[in-house]
Symmetry: C2
């Protein structure tokens, strides 16, 4: 199922304290997730939910997410565009 970005943006309030609503991390141990693909984001959320990947925070958060929630928040963060600038 393709996720719904509007529903995902709403659901992403649960992610925003750490990852930002814009996908830019608020603390150094947290990854930026802006512009990651839905394939990657859904896979990681499902890996945290199943226990295949472990993190003290994400394992708890992912437990509460349905497949639809995962598709929607992934669609939201994947819809953010990123541009990069290399160091001089």
């Amino acid at each position: 199922m393709a996720g719904d970005t509007a529903l995902g943006r709403h659901k992403a309030k649960a992610c925003a304290a750490c990852h930002g609503i814009d996908g830019v991390a608020k603390m150094p141990h947290v990854p930026n997730i802006a512009g990651e693909s839905t394939i990657y984001l859904e896979k990681q959320l499902k890996a945290f939910r199943s226990g295949e990947r472990h993190d003290p925070m994400m394992s708890i958060i992912a437990e509460g997410l349905s497949d639809d929630d995962i598709a929607n928040v992934s669609a939201w963060y994947a819809a953010i565009k990123i541009e990069v600038t290399l160091p001089e």
Copy 2:
């Protein structure tokens, strides 16, 4: 140890086919890693190397990395700046 970005850029040739030398993924199942923190990048590389996190490609790649390699490639990718644009 703080990594060396110049050495890291050189070592990152081993990462570039998938992650780009600029940290922008070349294929959808691969994450963008541009601008991730050294804390996050080093933690993930060490998790792949130890087997705590598993991925068919990254588990093999990380096996061949020393602590210095990990510090250096992490320093390189962390030195890339990202800017994000939210969807309309």
